[in-house]
């Protein structure tokens, strides 16, 4: 089982500059745990107090994971996950 994860520029220092990496897991939470095991520190950039960070957007295929159950979103083989930092400010 393999999931493609697209990594935004700002997080590429964690992935040795790779634009996309692979990970495994049946839920988004499991995928992030697997990612963090291989790319130490990445998990903390995505999670805060056990929840997805407010200003990090994660999409499974074309859907915002907030509409798919967040960290409980079901992930299947062949899915593509895209991580994008929010473009936001004050």
């Amino acid at each position: 089982m393999s999931i493609e994860i697209r990594i935004p520029t700002i997080l590429r220092p964690y992935t040795k500059d790779q634009k996309s990496v692979e990970a495994e897991g049946a839920t988004l939470s499991a995928v992030i745990t697997d990612l963090d095991a291989n790319y130490a520190g990445l998990g903390e950039r995505l999670l805060e107090n056990g929840a997805l960070r407010r200003f990090i957007n994660v999409y499974v295929n074309d859907e915002d994971v907030r509409f798919l159950g967040g960290l409980d979103a079901q992930i299947k083989d062949g899915d593509s996950i895209t991580i994008l930092p929010a473009v936001a400010g004050g």
């Binding site: 520029t9 930092p85 929010a86 400010g89 004050g90």
Partner: protein, 138 residues
């Protein structure tokens, strides 16, 4: 580091900031990957609809990155307006700046300086703000 931008784009951004007042307006200018050139202006919706905050709608954000990928483009400029304060990055601008390669442009249409406006550009990397010169061409 400096930003070169056309008069037409600079004017369009100021026009958008007036049109969306009192809310902040926002958008991007794209260019061919690696060129650093600001060639295609794309106004974005401020999903926060707020005078003190802006945020691209998450769905629009994904579509923007997909479109850029398809066109071999990258985001060269990310801009937004400050309606009552100086065109300088706020604490939240700095905290959420997620594109280390982009020029962060801020415009201000605050009343104190009207009819003049401010149009300034910054790099925001790891919480450090560096202002850069802006050259408006054409």
């Amino acid at each position: 580091m400096s930003l070169e931008i056309s008069r037409a784009f600079a004017d369009a951004i100021l026009e958008q900031s007036r049109a969306e007042y009192p809310d902040e307006c926002c958008g991007v200018i794209l260019g061919p990957i690696g060129s650093g050139k600001a060639l295609r202006h794309k106004p974005m919706l401020n999903a926060a609809h707020s005078p003190t905050f802006y945020e691209f709608d998450p769905k629009d954000l994904l579509a923007l990155y997909r479109e850029a990928d398809d066109n071999d483009e990258e985001i060269v400029v990310i801009y937004h307006s400050h309606t009552e304060t100086e065109a300088y990055p706020s604490r939240t601008d700095i905290a959420y700046a997620g594109e280390p390669g982009a020029h962060y442009v801020l415009v201000s249409t605050r009343k104190e300086i009207a009819p003049a406006t401010e149009f300034r550009s910054y790099r925001i990397i790891d919480g450090v703000v560096t202002e850069e010169p802006v050259t408006i061409t054409g």
